[in-house]
Each structure stands twice: as structure tokens, then as C-alpha cells.
């Protein structure tokens, strides 16, 4: 549905590179999460896809339409929600959506039904006659999402849609997005709140300094570092922790053992079999284990790991160049 090839965007006559040789493909009906620090190039990519920015070079298309040459067709396909957007203070929530429905050329006869449906979807039906500027930030964000859906686009481009929302508003917003996913919309979403993306996205892309440094299905990316496992171990109070530590360190798969408050953190290399062997070893030595579990790897860990690896690679490259 979305195809990007060698996309590059320069500012200030090339002295600032916002995007560097970006390649990306997003399949129809999937939810793609964009992760990356500020200035990584996420918003720039989204602006280009929303036909609001011209790339310096490269190619981007949505639904087979070129984002620069066939902007009109692309705009019909997409619903774009920027990270910050204003509202017209003199309009009610209903009038706001009505205005954009007209801008998108939605038929007058179906506008009322579409707007009512959208207000119900984003749970703002009871606020339909309220002035837009009187709505809370969370409500405005949901109204903005409804606005981007008013012409029933196949693709949603959401730039930091949950920024500045309180936890409750964030949960409500996520629920709406899940519903949209179930409707089969292709969604491209960026966020700083990484766990927020984990259970929403099918695929994620990690961006840094204008480059896509990792991308793929969420499960695969989380699985990647699983050869290294972090285990939590809690023992009954009367156990000799020092003895257990020695026992664990004797295991060839264990890399390190550290005390963390009332538990031990075991860093190991291996699969589930080796993990089970460690537990078996403890039990056969009659050590009373209360809790033994793997610390689950989440999307934040993936992000940190990927960016750390890259940083290390850069440092090595730099030191080699110096030598």
C-alpha cells in the first residue's frame, strides 16, 4: 500500500539531512509503528507521504500513486493527522467535521450519517454541539482522528497522535485505533510511547538520524535478542544467596548474576531448554525457589538495543578511521 524507495530530504541547501536513503514497504491492512527519537525523520517521512513536503530525491507512492506527481489521488486515499493541529474556534464539533467533509467532497446527502457515525466511533456524540475550542486535548485528538476519517480513507497517517494525552485519553485513543485496525485500514503511526505501539502494530520501523535502522514484524524484532535472556529469581527468605550465586555462576550458560533488592537477576545465553536446565539444577540442589521467570523483552528494549548497537558500530567505525 505504501512504498518508499531511496527517499532523501535535505534542508538548508543540503547541510541538514532529515531523511537518508529510506526504503520501506507497508502492506495493505497492516499497522506500521514508527519509533525513533525527536529529529529522527519520522515526521518528515509522514509529511512527504501526506503530499505536504517535496523529497529531495527518491520515490514514494501510496496505493500506486506517486506522492509528488499524483498528489490529488494520494490525498483522496489518505487521512493525515499531524502531531500538532489547530481547530477553528468558531465551529462546533459537528460543524468542524461537516466543514472537512465538504472539503473532501463528501456528498451532502450522506454527510450527516457519516459525521454521526464518526462521532460515535470516537465517543464524542454527546459533544457534537460543543464548540471545538472548548474540548479537552484528548477530545480534540479524537475529533482530529474523526476528521482524518471523514472521507473514508484507506490509509491513515498519524503523527504522534497520543502526545500530550493523559493515560485515560491515551487508552481511549488506542481503543479507537484498534477498532480502525479491525476495519482493515492501513495505519502508519509514530509515537514516543513505545509500549503503546507494541500491542497495536503489526510491523515497526526504528528510525535514527534520518535512517531506518531496523524494521519488521513486532514479534520478529522482539524475538531477535532472545538468545540473551534476563531471568528473575526469588528464593525463600532462609536461603543462602551467596551459595546460590556461586551455583548459578558455575553454569556455562549464565553470563552474570546480580542481586536486585530481594531477588537475583540472571543474564544468560540460550534457549528455553537451557533456561529450564538452570531451574532444574537449583531444584535438585534443594534450593527453594519462589519465583523464576524471564523478564519479558518489550518494544522499548528492542529500541534501546537497536540504537545502542548502532551507536557502538558508529564508535568503532570512528575509532578505526582515527587509527
Amino acid at each position: 500500500m505504501i512504498k518508499i524507495e531511496g527517499l532523501r530530504k535535505e534542508y538548508k541547501n543540503g547541510s541538514l539531512v532529515a531523511l537518508d536513503n529510506l526504503h520501506l514497504q507497508i502492506e495493505q491492512g497492516t499497522v506500521f509503528g514508527f519509533i525513533g527519537p525527536n529529529g529522527a525523520g519520522k515526521s518528515t517521512t509522514m509529511l512527504i507521504l501526506a503530499t505536504l513536503l517535496t523529497p529531495t530525491s527518491g520515490h514514494a507512492e501510496i496505493g500506486g500513486f506517486h506522492v509528488v506527481k499524483q498528489g490529488d489521488q494520494v490525498r483522496r486515499l489518505i487521512g493525515y493527522m499531524p502531531d500538532f493541529f489547530g481547530v477553528y474556534d468558531n465551529l462546533t464539533a459537528y460543524e468542524y467535521l461537516e466543514f472537512y467533509a465538504s472539503c473532501y467532497g463528501v456528498d451532502k446527502e450522506i454527510q450527516q450519517r457519516v459525521i454521526t457515525d464518526l462521532l460515535e466511533l470516537v465517543n464524542l456524540i454527546d459533544k457534537r454541539q460543543q464548540p471545538v475550542d472548548g474540548l479537552s486535548r484528548g477530545m480534540k485528538q479524537r475529533l482530529g482522528l474523526a476528521r482524518s476519517l471523514v472521507h473514508d480513507p484507506a490509509v491513515l497517517i498519524l503523527d504522534e497522535p497520543a502526545s500530550g494525552l493523559d493515560p485515560r485519553a491515551r487508552i481511549e485513543f488506542r481503543e479507537v485505533l484498534k477498532e480502525l485496525r479491525s476495519m482493515g485500514k492501513t495505519i502508519m503511526i509514530s509515537s514516543h510511547i513505545l509500549p503503546e505501539l507494541a500491542d497495536l502494530c503489526d510491523t515497526i520501523g526504528v528510525m535514527e538520524h534520518g535512517k531506518l535502522i531496523a524494521s519488521g514484524p513486532v514479534d520478529q524484532l522482539i524475538q531477535k535478542p532472545k538468545e540473551e535472556r534476563l531471568l528473575e529469581l526469588r528464593l525463600l527468605a532462609d536461603q543462602q544467596i551467596e551459595e546460590v550465586k556461586e551455583l548459578l555462576q558455575a553454569d556455562p550458560n549464565v553470563q552474570s548474576v546480580e542481586e536486585d533488592q530481594e531477588q537475583l537477576l540472571i543474564q544468560m545465553v540460550g534457549n528455553e531448554q537451557q533456561q529450564a536446565d538452570i531451574l532444574m539444577n537449583l531444584i535438585t540442589k534443594e534450593i527453594k525457589v519462589v519465583h523464576f521467570a524471564e523478564v519479558s523483552v518489550n518494544i522499548e528494549d528492542v529500541f534501546l538495543q537497536v540504537t545502542e548497537q548502532r551507536e557502538e558500530a558508529n564508535v568503532n567505525e570512528h575509532s578505526n578511521e582515527t587509527i
Partner: protein, 293 residues
């Protein structure tokens, strides 16, 4: 109505125009501005009437022309004060409110947005003008003014209004900040009213230095003629042949007022095209073209 006409109508009467008109009409300021404007105009006109010699058995047509000119000059000044203020925030305001990006991702193209905003502000000024028409009709009733004069004055005023509103929209699209766009719009209008006159005066003085008998015949430099023709007051005076011994034809052919009307119609059109171009996300970039070469 043919399909093409219907498409053009839909293109022209776009949601931006409808929204802006609604906002303007629903605003509490609108009736107040209208009321104040008509009161000021009425006070001036009736004060002028009171100076007429009511005892005389005949009416001096020059009085009527004077009042008509005065009314027209007042309308020009109103346009100069109102239109830059109305239009210079139209696009930059959208940008500052962060609504422009969203608008640009809809089916509306930048030309429609510009035309919608421009027509909305122009219609407000037209409303002021239409509401003041009874005063014109009263003055017209006194005689001394032909229907042709009336038509020319309306066209002259209309072209000025088009120009001032297009100027405001252009600066609003070009300059990101509303405050700066408004200041530059007013400076440009000030130059149009005062600056051209000052430059024209110097051109006249310099011309007089080199040419004898400048006030008679066709010896006026073309630059000076053009400056006179594009000035709102001199071209307005020319409609009533109030320019004394000057030859008020560009190159001896085109009357000042006709040149003025045509010039500002074309300039306004060019400014609107430029404004919509400024708003386009994918603009032509010289640097990239050079790199490709």
C-alpha cells in the same frame, strides 16, 4: 447549467468561502462596523448637503461632482484601511493556527483556498460598498454626473478593492507571520497611496528641469504618465477630467483611468496566482533544476 459550469460553480463556491462568509456574517463586529461606516458616511454627505445654497433657483453641478468625488475618495480610503487588515491574516493565520496543513491534505487545491479566502474578504468590502449605494444615488440625483461616470467610478473602486485584497492575500501566503504580513501589506498600500505620488512628484520635478512647457502638449515623460495612471487619486480625477492641462492619455492613446482599471485587474490576478503558488507544497525549485542539469 452545463456540467462544466456546475463544476466551476462548485470550484468557486468552495467550503472555505462558505465557512469564511458564515464566520464574517455571524461575527458581532460586522453589524457594528457596518453601522459605524454608514453613520460616518452619512454625517459627511449630509454635512456637504448643508453647505449647498438652498436659496438659489439653480443648482451648481460642480457641487455634485465634488461630493461624488469625495464619496469615492472616502470609499478608497476605507478599502485601504479595511482590506489589508482583513486579508493579510487569511493564510498566515491558518498557518499559525496549524490548520493549513490539514486543509492542504483535503481535495481543495491551493487556488481554491486562496480564492475562497479572497472572495470572503472582498465580499465584506462589497457589502460596505453596496450599503453605501443610496448615498451615491442621492448625489447622482442632483445631476452633473453621467451614468458613464458612475460606471467608471464603480469599476475604478472595484479594481482598487481587488488589488488591495489580493495584495493582502499575497503577503499572507508569502510571509509566515501574520503581524509581519499585515505590516507589509499596509506599507504597500501606503506606498500605493502616498509613495507613488511622492515618486511621481519627483519625476515631475526632474522632468521639468529637462523639458520646457511640461504642462502643455505631449512632452511628459512616459514614466511620469505611468505613475499618474496607476495612482488611485489621479486616475479617479481623470474620470471627471479634473487633471487640468495634462495630457491624460498614456502615449496619447489610453486614458489614465482605463489604464488604472486594466492594470489593477491584471496585477490582482497575478498576485492571486502567486499566492496560490506560494501555498503549494510542491513548488518549483531552481536549485534542484540546476542540480539535475
Amino acid at each position: 447549467m452545463s456540467i462544466r459550469m456546475k463544476r466551476f460553480k462548485d470550484w468557486l463556491l468552495n467550503p472555505v468561502l462558505v465557512k469564511e462568509l458564515q464566520r464574517r456574517i455571524q461575527s458581532r463586529k460586522t453589524p457594528i462596523i457596518l453601522f459605524a461606516y454608514l453613520i460616518v458616511l452619512g454625517v459627511f454627505v449630509f454635512s456637504f448637503f448643508s453647505t449647498f445654497d438652498t436659496q438659489s433657483d439653480h443648482f451648481d453641478a460642480d457641487n455634485s461632482i465634488g461630493l461624488f468625488l469625495f464619496l469615492s475618495a472616502l470609499q478608497l480610503m476605507t478599502a485601504a484601511f479595511v482590506l489589508p487588515g482583513l486579508t493579510s491574516s487569511m493564510i498566515s493565520g491558518e498557518r499559525e493556527k496549524q490548520t493549513l496543513y490539514i486543509l492542504l491534505t483535503t481535495n481543495l487545491d491551493s487556488k481554491q483556498i486562496v480564492i475562497g479566502k479572497w472572495m470572503a474578504s472582498l465580499s465584506f468590502m462589497l457589502m460596505l460598498f453596496i450599503c453605501s449605494l443610496p448615498f451615491y444615488v442621492m448625489v447622482y440625483g442632483f445631476g452633473g454626473i453621467t451614468t458613464w461616470h458612475l460606471i467608471l467610478v464603480v469599476f475604478h473602486l472595484f479594481s482598487t478593492m481587488l488589488f488591495y485584497s489580493s495584495l493582502g492575500i499575497f503577503f499572507s501566503a508569502w510571509i509566515k507571520r501574520t503581524g509581519v504580513a499585515t505590516t507589509i501589506s499596509y506599507l504597500a498600500v501606503f506606498f500605493h497611496g502616498i509613495g507613488i505620488a511622492v515618486v511621481g512628484y519627483f519625476a515631475f520635478v526632474v522632468g521639468s528641469f529637462f523639458t520646457q512647457n511640461l504642462m502643455h502638449g505631449n512632452q511628459i515623460p512616459l514614466v511620469f504618465e505611468l505613475l499618474m495612471a496607476i495612482h488611485p487619486v489621479t486616475s479617479l480625477l481623470d474620470i471627471f477630467h479634473f487633471m487640468g492641462d495634462f495630457d491624460t492619455k498614456i502615449g496619447g492613446y489610453i486614458p489614465f483611468y482605463l489604464f488604472y482599471i486594466l492594470f489593477y485587474f491584471i496585477t490582482s490576478f497575478a498576485l492571486l496566482i502567486a499566492a496560490s503558488y506560494m501555498m503549494m507544497p510542491h513548488r518549483f525549485q531552481w536549485r534542484r533544476r540546476e542540480e539535475k542539469k
